[in-house]
């Protein structure tokens, strides 16, 4: 990015109208991916000078325990439902979960879920890191996920959405192909980086379960209805444009007993509708990049 400038120069402007259509496999209209955030939060993390971790003095019992619900209860409930309806997760992973609760990571890997990095812990932020430190967490992420799952990460969602001006350049340099940190579009698109190739993968804050439940204060059924409307619109427009819909989840939220049943209607709706390419983020990135290079050759 152009550090310090008003326009960070992240990507070229490209209006939605008049773009070449993105074709998805099987003539599908919208690529749908679910992103479970599999996270580990520390009870007593060190302080980052640029952002507090917990709202309360440590231990923030409710904050910590609420998130710990994910690894004891929520993940298993959410994963079983996704599997029942044929959705593979694209995991935004606190890579230290590979050490703390390898059972969750192994379970997701055995289901055929993809992993990308969401930092080491969701209580360690990138703000204030120098280049050496930021390289260390990227290298740690690549190494840790490879050792735990055999997978090579292709994507990045910054830990707790904390960035530095060099994050995108660095992940591209390490061979990652997509970032989930940019929210400017419903289609993938190129990101300006110093070297290599990086695309933006439409993730979402608007339909993220955290936003649904704690920013917009939706009831479980209202959130489900929101996702269905979001899907229906992107599927309809996708006939002309080829769209991407991400459902970012935290199992300590969606996996609660009053929410998971309402969410099942969303998965059933998408499957029954038939217009969705139900896939993983890395597969979308691979497909998009292959399509783009073919277009470039022509």
């Amino acid at each position: 990015m152009r550090e310090g400038e008003g326009d960070p120069g992240l990507y070229p402007y490209s209006p939605y109208r008049g773009r070449p259509k993105l074709e998805w496999p099987g003539g599908k209209k919208v690529a749908v991916w679910i992103s479970p955030n599999l996270e580990f939060y520390e009870l007593d993390p060190p302080a980052n000078p640029h952002r507090k971790s917990w709202a309360k003095p440590h231990p923030d019992v409710v904050g910590y325990a609420h998130r710990d619900y994910a690894n004891r209860v929520g993940h298993w409930r959410m994963a079983e439902m996704m599997e029942k309806h044929g959705f593979k997760g694209s995991v935004s992973l606190s890579v230290a979960l590979c050490q703390h609760v390898p059972e969750v990571v192994e379970h997701a890997n055995a289901l055929g879920w993809e992993f990308f990095s969401h930092g080491i812990y969701n209580t360690r932020y990138s703000y204030g890191m120098d280049e050496v430190q930021e390289r260390a967490i990227i290298e740690d992420s690549i190494r840790t996920v490879r050792e735990a799952t055999g997978q090579t990460i292709k994507g990045w969602l910054a830990p707790a959405l904390t960035h530095t001006p060099r994050t995108l350049d660095l992940i591209a340099e390490y061979g990652l192909t997509y970032t989930c940190d940019l929210y400017h579009d419903d289609q993938p698109g190129p990101v300006a980086v110093r070297s290599g190739t990086l695309i933006s993968m439409p993730y979402s804050l608007e339909v993220n379960d955290h936003y649904g439940f704690f920013i917009y204060n939706m009831s479980p059924r209202d959130y489900a209805e929101t996702l269905i409307r979001h899907y229906d619109r992107l599927a309809a427009e996708g006939a002309e444009s080829g769209t991407v819909m991400c459902i970012p989840l935290h199992s300590y939220l969606i996996g609660q007993p009053h929410r998971i049943g309402a969410f099942e209607r969303v998965l059933q709706h998408i499957v029954d509708d038939g217009r969705a390419w139900i896939t993983r983020s890395g597969d979308i990135a691979d497909h998009y990049l292959a399509q783009r290079s073919k277009t470039a050759e022509i």
Partner: protein, 308 residues
Amino acid sequence: MALDPAYLDYPHRHKGMDHGLYRWSNIFDRPAITWPDSRRVLTWVVIDLEWFPITPTDKPFRAPGHMQTSYPDYRHYTARDYGNRVGIYRLLDALTKVGARASVAANGAIAERYPELMRDIVDAGHEIIAHSTDMNGTIATGIGEAEERALIVDTLDSLERAAGARPKGWLSIARSQSFDTPRLLAEAGLGYMCDWVNDDLPYRMETPAGAIINLPLNHELSDRQILTVQQQSIDSYCEQMRDAFAWLDAESARHGGRILPLNITPYIMGLPYRIAAFEQLLAWLAAQPGHGFARGDEIVGWAGAQIG
């Protein structure tokens, strides 16, 4: 510019939790828990019975629901006390109608100030659990061990004097603890606490003063969270509780007994425009096959031997 190199040290990065209080465990891998009489889902009603001094303190933090205007804040002082005069009696009647016994998490001040209310609660068969001294009795790191220990013991003493029995359970204000709390609660002889919302079933914690059961009181299902924080309607609240019950009931067929925790606040739920819907919810729950109401001490007693 760089961060302190220690920011990239991860001293607790190893298998298991990053603390010694409890071990990680997958609820679906544990031996199934069974409840008496083949009941599948137990609704555990917990009523927070709270007295807010009109002189709030902010150390270590101001309790949720506390005074908000400049002194004297008549509106919040009295609106909270409404719960102790009117709301609680509506809730007690609602429980009686369905034959439910509940856990009442009371401030010690309730026992000191309203002994007749305490007698009415105990006579109806409800359990009293401890909920600090009054709503200035918040706990967080910084309170100091001696002060926290005194707060716990004072609360238990007050409640025992009025209720005739020493409470076995503890609920912190806002479920907020210090690093010392689990140990101090175990040291005080409490059998269970409700603060850690990381599970749907009770599990054992280890402290230097001995073990204590954590019986999770899901804050996400509380009237405070859904009605006051998220500002949803009472009808939506009731629908969410029915949905939660339906999910847990279905899960219990494969995985054993489940608990539906209903954390209720008299000044929130005990209002005229809400109570009828809550009564209908209780009646609906009571009519579900395999459903029962239980107190926290009963649940801990039944689960205790089964959770090792």
